[in-house]
């Protein structure tokens, strides 16, 4: 009766309870929760990428941490960070139960890449490594059937980025993955394969049907430390291919209704810094393009033309334009270059040389600078020029090209000076000076070539009340110096605190009054006169007073003991030929010849290569000019090396010789234009003159500390 039915219900209740527990137990095998996909409406112009994360047991805990950090970085400034790019993810390893759902958890639906998304980050945190590397499950399929959890995501994805650090496990899963890939391709989706320290052949097969075809695969470092960079590059590159930018505005997709011709006008600009360089030195060319319309964002091709213009050829209006550019409709950039060479005078005057950068310009990419080294075979006076060419500088089809005025660097030379046997000292005054030279400095050029620095140097010390820049003391730059900092080669340069130079005591000193000392020995009143062109003779001895400006021709002091003192305090003495002391043997101090020139100005003409004399320019001008007959300098003039043997004192010293400082070896580079040689015979001659001695008797010695 009813009791039986009631009893039946009661009896069946435990069975139903056990069945319920059974179902719950099975459900309990399923892992973590995931955020189910929603079926949102797809908007055009967006790019959606689904990243598939490998969470097999080979992925270590540290790797997962690094992976999470890098993925979160995609949503931050500097990452993808683009409201037109959306990201989703699902994960995989191998689900031994092969159930239709669950094996791609954790996962998350699409979110904008512009800004960190809380739910996405929280789902990402649930990644945990366990199991094999089932390639079919990676593509959200099992036994040929798609995971229904992932289907809403996959149906809206443009790009699947399949990341794995291992080979397929089980091995047969790659066939299933290949079939899944073909299904996605048929749906119009793209698959990229990211290999994290593993072989590519299985991924190649899944994506492309061949183990050797690596199309759309890329590598990530084994410790994931470039994951964000690589994912950003790969996803944005593929998004740009799938949604190419508007050709008129790089920030709009081509499908945008706003993608239409926007007027623009671009101007190419190039500059060279510095504008003169020696052979082997580098110059920087800076390129830029300005847009006259700020409301347009064009994208154009650019290239550069390199020209070498030979020494002596004027460039003028050929490659320099009033408004800074020129429009052209030549057939090609090469044709423009050839045309410019022809306008400069042909191949004997100029030539096209290798150019600088080329590529695609948008307002956000710009053009980098170019470093160019003057070639070893460049001649002084040649110019190396760059011209920036834009293709389609306006929205119209004409002009086809617009190119800039050229920026040129001239090949120059930096002559050097050497001082032997004595110091360089500036800032002292002659006793008759009314103006003190308290701020006198020493400043010479240096050249850095390869690993060495070359420059002017003194064998001994340098003293100045102002700064000393470039010039080395203690022969610090002889043959070039590996160091590029001046401190290294300035060990005998007087310094004050941290600056080389600024040794103010120098400014309080006086130049020894050589004139006064000599005039105490020689009688000016009875001295014979020199005037006009003077031909020195062996019979000339003692003091000679100049009547106006005089010119000395070449002379060799071969007569033993010949001393000539030329006194021209208000006149100019021009040296027009070599004055040499001769090479005869001498057996006493009295046989040492000397020439002393005391003048207002001392000019040495360009043909002179050697002057053995004291040069004392103590007059009102006090100028010594080492190439007085030339005003416009070039390497073709004043090119003889000049050696001056003897003390030199002056208010102004114009070093105008252009010899040396060229060539490719250290000796050539270190060859000076002028040599000042303070030789010991000058000291011996003074000693003999003042002490009336013919021999040197050494009764004591006082030595300077050895110089190495």
């Amino acid at each position: 009766m009813i009791v039986r039915r009631k009893n039946s219900f009661i009896a069946l209740l435990p069975l139903m309870t056990m069945l319920g527990l059974f179902i719950a137990a099975i459900a309990g095998l399923v892992g973590v929760n995931s955020t189910p996909a929603s079926a949102a409406t797809i908007e055009p112009g967006f790019c959606r990428a689904s990243i598939v994360f490998d969470r097999s047991s080979s992925v270590g805990t540290k790797d997962l941490l690094t992976l999470r950090k890098h993925v979160e970085r995609l949503f931050q400034v500097g990452g993808i960070y683009d409201d037109k790019v959306e990201l989703a993810f699902w994960s995989f390893s191998s689900n031994p139960y092969r159930k239709p759902v669950g094996y791609n958890n954790p996962l998350h639906d699409f979110v904008s890449s512009k800004g960190v998304h809380v739910g996405f980050s929280q789902s990402l945190a649930k990644l945990r490594a366990f199991g094999g590397t089932n390639y079919e499950q990676a593509l959200a399929h099992a036994d040929g059937k798609q995971n229904s959890d992932v289907k809403p995501i996959a149906d809206r994805t443009d790009i699947i980025v399949f990341l794995t650090d291992g080979m397929p496990s089980p091995a047969g899963s790659r066939e299933g993955a290949r079939k899944a890939a073909l299904k996605y391709y048929a749906e119009g989706r793209t698959i990229l394969g990211g290999l994290i320290g593993t072989t590519s052949r299985h991924m190649n097969y899944v994506l492309n049907g061949s183990e050797k075809n690596g199309t759309n695969t890329f590598n990530v470092s084994g410790n994931y430390n470039d994951l964000s960079l690589v994912l950003k590059q790969q996803i944005l590159k593929k998004c740009n291919e799938l949604n190419p930018p508007c050709e008129y505005n790089a920030e709009l997709p081509a499908t945008s209704p706003d993608c239409k011709v926007t007027p623009y006008t671009l101007t190419p600009i190039v500059s060279a810094n510095p504008s003169i360089r020696e052979v082997g030195e580098s110059v920087s060319y800076a390129y830029s393009i300005t847009n006259g319309r700020t409301d347009s964002r064009p994208k154009v091709n650019y290239s550069t033309i390199g020209l070498r213009v030979n020494s002596g050829v004027s460039t003028g209006p050929v490659i320099g334009y009033t408004n800074g550019y020129k429009d052209d409709s030549s057939s090609s950039v090469a044709a423009i270059g050839n045309s410019l060479v022809a306008q400069l005078g042909g191949s004997s005057k100029a030539a096209v040389v290798s150019g600088g950068p080329s590529g695609v310009w948008t307002p956000s990419t710009g053009i980098g600078a170019e470093s160019f080294a003057i070639p070893a075979d460049a001649r002084v006076g040649d110019k190396y020029c760059r011209i920036l060419v834009i293709e389609k500088p306006t929205e119209a089809n004409n002009p086809k090209y617009r190119y800039s005025s050229a920026a040129c660097v001239a090949v120059g030379s930096k002559p050097k000076v050497h001082v032997y046997g004595g110091d360089v000292q500036v800032g002292r005054s002659f006793t008759n000076d009314s103006v003190r030279s308290l701020g006198s400095i020493v400043r010479t050029s240096t050249t850095r070539l390869g690993t060495k620095t070359f420059g002017s140097w003194s064998e001994y010390g340098i003293m100045a009340p102002g700064t000393i820049t470039g010039m080395a003391s203690r022969a610090g730059l002889q043959g070039g110096n590996m160091a590029s900092t001046q401190n290294i080669w300035s060990s005998l340069s007087f310094a004050n605190e941290e600056t080389i130079g600024e040794f103010n005591d120098v400014a309080s000193g006086w130049i020894p009054d050589i004139t006064d000392a000599l005039l105490r020995i020689y009688d000016k009143a009875t001295a014979p006169r020199y005037s006009g062109n003077v031909a020195l003779q062996p019979t000339h001895k003692g003091l000679y007073v100049a009547s106006g400006d005089i010119t000395l021709g070449s002379y060799d002091f071969s007569t033993p003991g010949q001393t000539i003192v030329i006194y021209a305090p208000s006149s100019t003495v021009t040296i027009n030929g070599n004055l040499t002391y001769g090479s005869q043997r001498m057996s006493s101090l009295g046989e040492i010849p000397q020439l002393v020139i005391i003048a207002d100005r001392i000019n040495i003409t360009s043909g002179v290569s050697r002057v053995d004399a004291w040069l004392v320019a103590s007059g009102e001008s006090g100028r010594i000019d080492t190439c007085s007959d030339i005003t416009a300098l070039s390497v073709l003039v004043c090119e003889k090396q000049l050696t001056i043997t003897g003390p030199v004192t002056a208010k102004q010293l114009l070093l105008k010789r252009t010899a040396g400082a060229q060539g490719s070896d250290d000796i050539s580079r270190d060859t000076p234009a002028e040599i000042f040689n303070m030789r010991a015979d000058a000291y011996l001659w003074v000693y003999a003159l003042t002490a009336n001695e013919r021999r040197v008797v050494t009764t004591y010695t006082s030595e300077l500390s050895p110089r190495f």
Binding site: T61, G78, R128
Partner: protein
């Protein structure tokens, strides 16, 4: 009158077939439970520490998410000071300096995402001042300055980050060469014209 003694709970008499079915079901349940226990034991074998770490990561992600959502909600209401306060309270409570810096950077990301880049930069500057270890702050500032076209500052912080790659804050495992390349890239951008 004779009353039949009735048992209150009396199992129905079952046929042999039903008994077999019930037996199979019971066996299945038993096997399932045992299997689940074995699998979980195997997975958990020696992984207690890993489990703890995993749970910690999830808890931290949830806590970070709550802070972020709270701050975003305040900003959407126009209460920027309240958004700042949400993070400040968390920063004050946090003892670990590196975690404080991460919280500042989280706040900076919220500010940046809501259109306040310079407030974001100022926030990370505060984080920079917290420690001699500048890696995280420099890494974020370099990207932020670059996005604002301040290439000089971007290069400065890329270089600083590159010098700090040995920092324990560097969970990205970036090497110095990565930052050297970023410096070179931004220097090329410096030559752009607009």
């Amino acid at each position: 009158m004779k009353h039949k003694k009735q048992r209150r709970f009396q199992l129905p008499r079952l046929s042999f077939r039903i008994k077999v079915v019930l037996g199979v079901i019971a066996a299945l349940i038993l096997i399932t439970v045992v299997t689940v226990v074995i699998i979980r034991l195997q997975a958990g074998k020696g992984n207690t520490e890993a489990d703890d770490q995993y749970q910690q990561i999830i808890r931290e992600a949830e806590a970070d998410g709550r802070l972020r959502n709270q701050a975003k909600a305040e900003i959407s209401k126009g209460n920027e000071a309240a958004a700042d306060e949400v993070y400040q309270q968390a920063i004050v409570k946090e003892r670990d300096v590196n975690k404080k810096i991460e919280l500042y950077i989280d706040l900076a990301n919220v500010l940046y995402d809501t259109g306040r880049p310079y407030d974001a930069i100022d926030t990370v500057k505060k984080a920079e001042a917290l420690s001699d270890d500048k890696f995280l702050a420099a890494d974020w500032l370099s990207r932020a300055y670059e996005s604002q076209d301040d290439y000089v500052s971007a290069i400065k912080y890329y270089k600083l980050a590159g010098q700090s790659v040995a920092s324990p804050q560097n969970e990205y495992l970036f090497e110095k060469s990565y930052y050297d390349r970023e410096v070179a890239r931004v220097m090329r951008l410096q030559g752009r014209g607009n």
